[in-house]
């Protein structure tokens, strides 16, 4: 007769429970440390309101990683060739999750270089972790100036800052209609859009425009009727918006209400290829864009500007992007790819991947890529702010076949078609 206690179902359940608890307490297996592989960590808004823009940015970065790895990676000063791997989590377009996820990327996933989440509010939260854990972070889809005015040392911006985002729209309006004077600004009340529109308002007033309405709407607003109601009859222009989802809804409701017909300039949404799905409501809408396929940056323009040319020409990027993702690249896609190029150029210059060496290399970068010029402010009170890149302004117009296409209408020297004014 055995003296061992019976192995009852209750004991089995207890053991199973303990096994589950102990497994849950353990850390997820970390990627093996590999000196020849640089982990690039970031969060992506795979769900939530920033999904469209963020997905494009990730596509651009993914394309760069594929291409640089296929080319054998980047060779360091000691002859080691490093390749790149992306690690990312879904931030659900939610700022509250950012710091937890970036801490995990640095701690568990051993990310050596960080890319910001899409949008200024989320990037601002991620920048804190980059500084805390001594990691270089490229803010690929975040234009707010204020992140770079908080004493950050390791955060580098790819986009033209928010303070210069919408100012060209006032210049364009002045060029189209010297008599235009009344402008209504209706914008999302998030960090990026508020920064952009505050700066645009100040700029417009210095150029002699009267801001006839200045209203902010909460993120997630879907009914714009109360805001459209505040736009005075006879306003020469409507500017503002925020991101893709709200910008599309705002444009559609402006069209339905017959408002903003002469000149409408909206942030982010209007520059996205999917904006065309609005049909007639998209026609005539102007959007500031960080990059357009029609932009003609080339080695020749780099030579004329007296800076280095770096990376592929726009046509090669566009072709590779179309082939890989089956869609037209937007400026978010190009921004993601440009963030990768920046990392590549920084490592090549530094010859190492350590943060201090990379920081030193990035501080000294002044180059022209297909995305435009990239150079950084290195003063301590605005370190990492983008000072080289310039915006372009597109307008949705119908081509000869009646299809909606984007045309670059500003600045004048880079335009592909004259702006239509009044637009409707």
């Amino acid at each position: 007769m055995s003296s061992h206690p019976a192995f009852t179902p209750r004991a089995a359940l207890l053991l199973a429970g303990l096994a589950v608890v102990s497994a849950g307490c353990g850390r997820a297996p970390s990627p093996a440390a590999d000196a020849s592989r640089v982990v690039i960590g970031f969060t992506a808004s795979q769900t939530g309101k920033l999904n469209i823009e963020s997905a494009r940015q990730v596509n651009g970065l993914t394309l760069w990683i594929d291409e640089v790895n296929r080319g054998g990676g980047v060779t360091l000063a000691d002859g080691t060739a490093v390749t790149f791997a992306a690690r990312y989590y879904d931030d659900e377009s939610n700022k509250d999750r950012i710091q937890e996820l970036y801490t995990r990327l640095v701690g568990d996933d051993r990310a050596r270089i960080l890319i910001s989440p899409y949008s200024s509010g989320l990037a601002d939260a991620a920048a804190v972790i980059a500084e805390q854990y001594d990691r270089i972070m490229i803010t690929a889809g975040a234009a707010s100036d204020s992140t770079h005015r908080k004493g950050c040392r390791l955060v580098y911006q790819v986009y033209t800052p928010a303070s210069r985002y919408l100012t060209g729209a006032f210049d364009l309006l002045r060029a189209l209609d010297p008599k235009a004077s009344r402008v209504a600004i209706v914008h999302e009340k998030d960090k990026f859009s508020s920064d952009v529109c505050d700066a645009a308002k100040s700029y417009g007033e210095t150029r002699g425009f009267r801001i006839a309405a200045f209203e902010g709407y909460d993120s997630g607003t879907t009914d714009f009727a109360p805001f459209i109601g505040t736009i005075p009859r006879g306003a020469d222009a409507v500017m503002g918006g925020g991101h893709f989802a709200d910008g599309c809804t705002f444009a559609r409701q402006l069209f339905e209400k017959g408002a903003g017909g002469k000149f409408t300039a909206l942030l982010v949404a209007a520059a996205e290829p999917k904006f065309a799905a609005l049909g007639e409501a998209a026609r005539g809408v102007i959007g500031p864009s960080q990059w357009e396929p029609l932009c003609a940056y080339s080695p020749e323009s780099a030579r004329l500007a007296g800076v280095d040319w770096y990376g592929p020409p726009a046509a090669k990027f566009i072709e590779a992007y179309r082939k890989r993702f089956g869609e037209e690249p937007s400026y978010h896609s190009a921004g993601g790819y440009a963030a990768g190029l920046l990392i590549q150029r920084g490592i090549e210059k530094a010859g190492r991947v350590e943060t201090a060496a990379l920081k030193s290399a990035l501080d000294g970068i002044d180059m022209l890529t297909f995305f435009g010029r990239i150079a950084f402010d290195v003063r301590p009170d605005s370190h990492g702010l983008q000072i080289g890149h310039e915006m372009v302004y597109i307008q949705w117009q119908r081509n000869a076949a009646g299809a909606l296409v984007r045309q670059v209408v500003w600045p004048e020297e880079g335009r592909s078609a004259p702006a239509i004014y009044p637009a409707r």
Binding site: Q46, T47, G48, K49, N51, E92, S93, E215, G216, Y217, D218, G220, T222, D223, A225, P226, F227, G229, T230, I231, P232, R233, A245, C248, T249, Q253, E256, K257, G258, A277, G279
Partner: protein, 286 residues
């Protein structure tokens, strides 16, 4: 009055009719069984997604698909009643409040897992009707017209049918109704089903006008509470009137102060009505 002001008020009235239908579901459930259904917003959001799926996958006209949404809402409401409310119907208010709140959290959680929080849109447009300087988007006009029809239908059902009379009898005095042979539990579940159906229909109508996410129901649920208090708790017709008042406030306030003051004014009125006239501006059912 400027055309912009009139146009904004008209927009408010049109949307107010839809708010009225949403609140009608809430007020019906309260009126019949004294339950505050905190799952109301989640059911509205499910109505939005149901309409979106029916339109996208079956290619139905959104207004025809509303019949399917109504049916789904009804089934959902009856199921919710028997699983989360029936056993607590005589318990203190807090029990049903917490129970329906739990259902709300489950629905939102499941909806987030399945649909994510990415904004959706029903790809449907109607012509804008222009009268002079005023412009009325067709989808808003259609939604308001359907809202008025639904209100009329509910009123006729409650006041012209035997089942409606039975529901009103249960609402008035459940014990007496049972003594008269009315199956009260069945009437309560029917009422809950109709309340949920109205929420789902309101959600569907909103989805024809605005983009939405699984979290969109929450803001409309908050509006429904304001509408119920304005119109009088337990008074379905008052809910429509309350909805229109709320719509007028939303349309008119932005002309006098920044839009961000709209919810402040709305909820100040909410508290004021509760204190000064708890039966609502249009009188609750007693």
């Amino acid at each position: 009055m400027s055309p912009e002001f009139i146009s904004s008020l008209c927009d408010g009235i049109l949307m107010g009719c839809v708010y009225g239908v949403a609140a009608m579901g809430l007020t019906l459930i309260w009126g019949v069984m004294r339950v505050v259904n905190l799952g109301h917003g989640a059911i509205m959001a499910l109505g939005m997604f149901a309409l979106s799926l029916l339109v996208a996958h079956l290619g139905l006209n959104p207004y025809l698909a509303l019949a399917g949404v109504a049916l789904l809402g009804f089934v959902c409401g009856v199921g919710m009643y028997w699983t989360a409310v029936h056993r607590l119907i005589d318990a203190p208010y807090l029990s049903t409040l917490l129970s329906t709140f739990a259902v709300n959290m489950m629905l939102i959680g499941m909806g987030t897992a399945v649909f994510t929080t990415t904004p959706r849109n029903i790809d449907f447009a109607m012509r804008t009707v222009r009268i002079g300087a005023l412009a009325f988007p067709g989808t808003r006009l259609a939604a308001a017209a359907i809202a008025v029809l639904v209100t009329a239908g509910l009123h006729l059902f409650l006041h012209r049918s035997r089942t409606g009379a039975a529901i009103r009898a249960v609402a008035s005095n459940r014990a007496a109704a049972e003594l008269m042979g009315i199956p009260s539990a069945r009437m309560l579940s029917l009422s809950f089903g109709i309340g949920a159906m109205l929420a789902a229909v309101a959600g569907g109508l909103i989805a024809t006008i605005f983009p939405f996410t699984i979290l969109s129901g929450e803001s409309y649920q908050m509006r429904s509470f304001v509408v119920c208090v304005l119109g009088g708790l337990g008074n379905p017709l008052g809910a429509l009137a309350g909805g229109i008042v709320l719509g007028l406030l939303e349309g008119g306030i932005p002309f006098f102060m920044p839009v961000s003051w709209v919810p402040v004014i709305e909820f100040a009125i909410f508290v004021l009505v509760l204190m000064v006239r708890p039966t609502g501006l249009f009188g609750g059912e007693r």
